[in-house]
C-alpha cells in the first residue's frame, strides 16, 4: 500500500504539465530543486574523484617502500583527497539537501533569493574546477588540506600548487557564504503559516545551525587566506618567521574555522537521520527540544575548542586544560543526540528499508568516532596520537561513518521525492552491507596502526615497523568500499531507465515534502499549507484518521508567481572565478593587473545586469 505505483495515465499527465527541458533551462534555472540536483550531481562526481584519489593512496600504502606513486604525487593526492571530500563532496552534498528539502519541509515555493542560489551553485562548480585544473598544470595542491605555514610560504612552496589551493578555497568560500545567507533568510522568513521554530523538522533545524556556523566560520578562513595570498604574492610576512611573522597565527585562524567546519560537515547528517529514524520507526523523534538545543550547544562549543588541534605546539598547561575540558564537554550534547536516536527507535515498529539501514549504520559508526574523539581530547594522550593514523581513523569514523552514512541515508530516503523513482531495495541493501564492511575493514585497523606509531601524510613506510599487514588489509577494505559505490551507481542507472513510479508518500512520511507529487512541480505547493504541529503530515493523517493520504493531483500552475530564469548569476560566477584566476596571474607577473581589472569589470557587469533584471 505504502509503495503504490502510479498508473501510466498519471505519469503521462505529469509530464504534460510544462516541465521545462533542455540544457538552457538548466543553465538559467533558479528553481531550488533543479539547483539541488545540480549540486548533488556535481558533488557526487567530485566524491567519486576524491574516492579514486583515496584508492590511489591505498594502493601506494598497500606495501612498504612502494614506488607506485612518486612522493610529490602522493602529497598532491592526500591534499586533494581531503580538500575534495570536505569542500567539493560532503559540503555540497549537504547543500543538495538544503536546496531541495528546506523549502519543501517548511512549505515554501522557493528559497528567499533564487538567483543568489543559482550563483552559489555556479561559483561552487567553477571553484571545484579551478582547484582540479591544477592537475593539468602538474601543480595540484601538495601542502595538506590544513596548509600549515610556513611550508606554504613562497620560499618552501615556490610552485603554483599552493596558489591553486588558497585561491580555490576563496572561490568556494564565496559560494558557501552566499548559500548560507540564502538559507538563513529562507528558514527565518519563508516558513509556512503555523510552522513555528519549534515545529520545524529536525533537518531544517540542523541546517539552520549549519548556516550560522558557515556565516561565522568562513570569514575567518577568508581572512587567513587573504593574509596568505599577501605573503605569497605581495611579499608580506604574516606567517613567515624570518620576517617576524608567526606560523602559529595560521594554525589559530585555520582551526577557528576548521573546527566549526567539522560541525558544518556533520550537523546536516544529524538532521537527515533525525528525519529517517522516526519515519522508519513509525514514531516521532524522541526528545525534540533536547535535539534542537544539543545541536545549538554543539555549534556554540564548536567555536571554543579549536586549539585541541594544536596540543603538540606546546601551549602550556592552562590553555591545554581549557581546550581539553571544552572538547570533553562536546561529548555531552553529542551523547544526548545518540541516546535520543536510540530512544526514537525504542518501542517503535522498525522498518528496515535502505535509508533506515544507513541511519542505524550512522549511529553505530558515529559512536566509535565519538569515543576516539574523547581519547584525543586529553593533551598528554593526544601528543602520542596526533599526526598518526589514529587520527585518520577517528575522523573517517566521524566524516565517513557519520556524514557519508547520513548523506547516503538521505539519498535513498529522498530519491523518490527528487526523481520520482524508488531506488532498488535489494541493491540498496547490498550497497549498505558492502559499505559497512568495507568501511570498517579500511578504517578500523588505522586505530591500531596509528597507536603503534604510524604517522600520517607519509608517502611510504619502511618494512620492519610492523605496519605491513594492517596496511594491506586497509587497502583491501578500501576496494570493498569502492565496490559499494559501484553498486550504488548501478542502482542509479537501473532506476533511471525505469518510468517514474514513485508515489508522493512512499514511506508514510511525517513532513510536508511527502504531501506533494514526486517529483514536485516547479511551484512545490499549489496552495501554501497551514501547519498545526510538529510532524505536520502525520498531524494531517491523524486528523483524517488515515495512514496514507490520497495521491495529490498534478495541477496547472496558472496564476502562481515564480521567479524568471536568469543567466546573470552564471555570468557573475564566471566573474568571481576570473577575479581569483587573474590574481594568480598578478601573483606571478605584474602584467596580470590588467586581467584583474578585466575580471572585476566582468563581475560588476554581471551583478549590475542581475540587479536590474526583472525578477519575474
Amino acid at each position: 500500500m505504502a509503495t503504490r505505483v502510479l498508473d501510466q495515465h498519471q505519469v503521462q499527465t505529469a509530464a504534460g504539465y510544462g516541465e521545462k527541458t533542455g540544457l538552457w533551462s538548466w543553465i538559467t534555472t533558479v528553481d531550488h530543486k533543479r539547483i539541488g540536483v545540480l549540486y548533488g550531481a556535481t558533488a557526487f562526481l567530485f566524491f567519486l574523484l576524491g574516492g579514486i584519489e583515496a584508492l590511489l593512496i591505498r594502493i601506494q600504502l598497500g606495501s612498504p617502500d612502494n614506488t607506485f606513486l612518486s612522493p610529490e604525487r602522493y602529497n598532491e593526492l592526500f591534499t586533494m583527497h581531503g580538500t575534495t571530500m570536505i569542500f567539493l563532496a560532503i559540503m555540497p552534498l549537504s547543500a543538495m539537501f538544503f536546496n531541495y528539502m528546506i523549502p519543501l519541509q517548511i512549505g515554501a515555493r522557493d528559497v528567499a533569493f533564487p538567483r543568489l542560489n543559482a550563483f552559489s551553485y555556479w561559483v561552487f562548480l567553477l571553484g571545484g574546477l579551478f582547484l582540479n585544473i591544477s592537475w593539468l598544470f602538474n601543480a595540484a595542491p601538495d601542502q595538506g588540506w590544513f596548509g600549515y605555514a610556513n611550508l606554504t610560504s613562497r620560499q618552501y612552496s615556490p610552485g603554483m600548487n599552493v596558489d591553486f589551493w588558497m585561491l580555490g578555497l576563496q572561490i568556494l568560500g564565496i559560494a558557501s557564504l552566499a548559500a548560507a545567507v540564502n538559507f538563513f533568510v529562507t528558514i527565518i522568513n519563508l516558513r509556512a503559516p503555523g510552522m513555528k521554530l519549534m515545529r520545524m523538522p529536525m533537518f531544517v533545524w540542523m541546517s539552520f545551525i549549519t548556516q550560522v556556523l558557515l556565516l561565522l566560520a568562513f570569514p575567518v578562513i577568508t581572512v587567513a587566506l587573504i593574509l596568505l595570498m599577501f605573503d605569497r604574492f605581495f611579499g608580506t610576512h604574516f606567517f613567515v618567521p624570518s620576517g617576524g611573522g608567526d606560523p602559529i597565527l595560521w594554525q589559530h585562524l585555520f582551526w577557528i574555522f576548521g573546527h566549526p567546519e567539522v560541525y558544518i560537515l556533520i550537523l546536516p547528517a544529524f538532521g537527515i537521520i533525525s528525519e529517517v529514524l522516526p519515519v522508519f520507526s513509525r514514531k516521532p523523534l524522541f526528545g525534540y527540544a533536547a535535539m534542537v538545543f544539543s545541536g545549538v550547544f554543539i555549534a556554540f562549543l564548536g567555536f571554543g575548542v579549536w586549539s585541541h588541534h594544536m596540543f603538540a605546539t606546546g601551549m602550556g598547561p592552562i590553555a591545554d586544560t581549557f581546550f581539553a575540558l571544552t572538547t570533553m564537554l562536546i561529548a555531552i550534547p553529542t551523547g544526548v543526540k545518540i541516546f535520543n536516536w536510540i530512544g526514537t527507535m525504542w518501542g517503535g515498529s522498525l522498518q528496515f528499508r535502505t535509508p533506515m539501514l544507513f541511519a542505524i549504520g550512522f549511529i553505530a559508526m558515529f559512536i566509535i568516532g565519538g569515543l576516539s574523539g574523547v581519547m584525543h581530547s586529553e593533551p598528554p594522550a593526544d601528543l602520542q596520537q596526533t599526526d598518526t593514523y589514529f587520527i585518520v581513523a577517528h575522523f573517517h569514523y566521524v566524516m565517513f561513518g557519520g556524514s557519508i552514512f547520513g548523506i547516503t541515508a538521505g539519498a535513498y530516503y529522498w530519491w523518490p521525492k527528487m526523481f520520482g523513482r524508488l531506488l532498488n531495495e535489494g541493491l540498496g541493501k547490498l550497497h549498505f552491507w558492502l559499505m559497512l564492511i568495507g568501511f570498517n575493514v579500511t578504517f578500523f585497523p588505522m586505530h591500531v596502526v596509528g597507536l603503534h606509531g604510524m604517522p600520517r601524510r607519509t608517502y611510504t613506510y619502511p618494512a620492519g615497523l610492523g605496519f605491513e599487514t594492517l596496511n594491506r588489509i586497509e587497502t583491501v577494505g578500501a576496494f570493498i568500499l569502492g565496490l559499494s559505490f559501484l553498486v550504488f551507481l548501478i542502482n542509479v542507472v537501473q532506476t533511471w531507465r525505469k518510468p517514474r513510479n514513485a508515489p508522493a508518500d512512499p514511506w508514510n512520511g511525517a513532513t510536508l515534502e511527502w504531501s506533494i507529487p514526486s517529483p514536485p512541480q516547479e511551484w512545490n505547493f499549489a496552495q501554501i499549507p497551514v501547519v498545526h504541529g510538529r510532524d505536520a503530515l502525520w498531524e494531517v493523517k491523524r486528523e483524517q484518521g488515515r495512514t496514507a493520504l490520497p495521491e495529490p493531483a498534478r495541477v496547472s500552475g496558472a496564476g502562481i508567481h515564480m521567479p524568471n530564469p536568469s543567466y546573470w548569476p552564471l555570468v557573475s560566477a564566471i566573474g568571481v572565478t576570473a577575479v581569483f584566476a587573474s590574481l594568480m596571474a598578478l601573483g606571478h607577473d605584474k602584467a596580470g593587473a590588467w586581467l584583474v581589472v578585466a575580471s572585476v569589470a566582468l563581475l560588476f557587469f554581471g551583478i549590475y545586469r542581475w540587479a536590474f533584471e526583472p525578477a519575474g
Binding site: 513509525r282 516521532p284 517503535g348 522498525l350 599526526d387 606509531g453 619502511p462
Partner: protein, 379 residues
C-alpha cells in the same frame, strides 16, 4: 547435522585466526609503538589512554548493545499497529545527560593532572639537548658536552633529558613514541619536551608534522644507553673535533678507523690540505681515505656538512657527519648504513630521496668508493 558441524568447525578456525591476528597486534611487533612506554612521559600518556579506553569500552559495549537490542526487539512486522507515540521523557533525558557528564568528570581529573605533570619543569640535573628540525633530518646538540650530531639521539638511561627545540626552516614535530610523545618545532620559538628513558635500546622514530616532499623520510633513531656506555660515547665524540690529537691509523679495524677519522677531521678543519695517513698495512685504505677527503672538499660536500662533533658550526644545511660511519642508517632513516648504500647515496641522492637538498654531485661509480671509505672512517 554434518553440515552444521562443518560450519561450526570453520567458525572456530576463523575465531582462532582472528585471535592470532589480535595477538599479532601486540606492541612487541611494533618498534615505533606508543603502547609500550619505556619512559616516564610516555607512561603518563599511556596510563591516561588506558583509563579512557576502559571507560570508552564500557560505553561502547553498553550503547552499541542497546542499539543492537533495539534493532532485534523492535523489528516491525507487516500489519503491526502504530506504536505508542512517545515524544520524550524528561527523567530519562536528564539521566543520560548526567551520566556522560560524570564519566567525563572521571576522565577529566586524571587528564588535568597529567597535563600539569607533563608540563612541569624538568629535573635540575637533566641533560639538555638542543633539537633542530631541518628539511629532512634532525640535528642534536649537547651544550653540556659541546657536541653536535645528527639523526641519532644518544641518551643515558635513568637521567631526565630536557629537549629545547627549534626548526631551521618549516614546522616539524619531534616524536619519541617509546619515551615521551610529540612536540612541534618552529623557526621562531623554542618548544620543550622532557623525558626519562628507563630501558636501553635502539628505537626508531620519525617526524610527526608534514614538512614537505620528504616528510616520510625524516626518521631518526633514539639510542638509549647505560650511563657508562653513554659516558664512553661522549668521551669518544669529544675526540672528533679540531682539538683532538692526531694519531696515525694502521689497520682498517674499528679503533684504527676511529683514529683515522680524528685525523681526517683535523685535516678538514685545518683548511683542506690532504695528509696521507701512514702505516704499511693501511696504505691502500689510506689512499682511498685521502682521495675521499679530497673529493669531500672539491665536490662541495664540505659546504653543507661538518665533520667535527666538537665546536661544530651552527646553521649547516646538511647533517653533521663526524660519526656518520657508526650510524645505523643514512639519509634520515632512508637507507641502512652499508658501504653499498652509502655509495648509491653519494652518487645519486635525488633518485633515492627526491627533492632532498643534496644535489647530485657528479660522482662516478669508481670515484664513489673513496668518499665511502672516507666517511666510513668517521665513526
Amino acid at each position: 547435522m554434518l553440515r552444521t558441524a562443518a560450519w561450526r568447525s570453520r567458525l572456530v578456525t576463523a575465531l582462532c585466526l582472528l585471535t592470532v591476528g589480535l595477538v599479532g597486534c601486540s606492541p612487541e611487533h611494533y618498534p615505533q609503538t606508543t603502547l609500550l612506554p619505556r619512559g616516564d612521559f610516555a607512561r603518563i600518556a599511556d596510563d591516561l589512554l588506558d583509563t579512557t579506553v576502559k571507560w570508552a569500552l564500557l560505553v561502547f559495549v553498553l550503547v552499541e548493545g542497546v542499539l543492537i537490542y533495539a534493532i532485534f526487539r523492535f523489528r516491525g512486522k507487516p500489519g503491526d499497529p502504530e506504536p505508542h507515540q512517545t515524544h520524550g521523557n524528561t527523567t530519562v533525558e536528564i539521566v543520560w545527560t548526567v551520566i556522560p557528564a560524570l564519566i567525563l568528570a572521571a576522565i577529566a581529573v586524571p587528564t588535568v593532572r597529567a597535563i600539569f605533570q607533563t608540563n612541569a619543569t624538568p629535573a635540575k640535573d637533566a641533560l639538555t639537548v638542543e633539537v633542530v628540525g631541518h628539511q629532512w633530518w634532525w640535528e642534536f646538540r649537547y651544550p653540556e658536552y659541546n657536541l653536535t650530531t645528527a639523526n641519532e639521539l644518544h641518551i643515558p638511561v635513568g637521567r631526565t633529558v630536557s629537549l629545547r627545540m627549534g626548526s631551521a626552516d618549516v614546522l616539524h614535530s619531534f616524536w619519541v613514541p617509546q619515551f615521551a610523545a610529540k612536540r612541534d618545532v618552529f623557526a621562531n620559538r623554542e618548544t620543550r619536551l622532557w623525558f626519562k628513558a628507563e630501558v636501553e635500546g635502539e628505537y626508531p622514530a620519525q617526524c610527526g608534522e608534514f614538512c614537505g616532499i620528504q616528510h616520510a623520510r625524516m626518521a631518526y633513531r633514539i639510542k638509549a644507553q647505560k650511563p657508562e656506555e653513554f659516558r664512553a660515547w661522549v668521551a669518544h665524540m669529544q675526540t672528533l673535533g679540531p682539538k683532538a690529537s692526531a694519531q696515525s691509523p694502521s689497520a682498517p679495524s674499528k679503533p684504527a678507523a676511529t683514529r683515522a677519522s680524528a685525523q681526517g677531521v683535523k685535516t678538514a678543519s685545518a683548511g683542506g690540505t690532504v695528509q696521507h695517513p701512514g702505516g704499511a698495512q693501511g696504505q691502500a685504505q689510506g689512499t682511498q681515505y685521502a682521495t675521499g677527503n679530497q673529493l669531500f672538499m672539491t665536490k662541495g660536500c664540505v659546504g653543507c656538512h661538518s665533520l667535527q662533533a666538537v665546536n661544530a658550526p651552527k646553521g649547516m644545511v646538511g647533517p653533521n657527519l663526524a660519526n656518520v660511519g657508526a650510524r645505523s642508517y643514512i639519509a634520515a632513516g632512508t637507507l641502512k648504513n652499508t658501504d653499498e648504500n652509502l655509495a648509491r647515496w653519494i652518487r645519486n641522492p635525488q633518485a633515492i630521496k627526491k627533492g632532498v637538498l643534496m644535489p647530485n654531485l657528479g660522482v662516478s661509480e669508481t670515484e664513489a668508493q673513496a668518499p665511502v671509505a672516507f666517511l666510513r672512517a668517521h665513526q
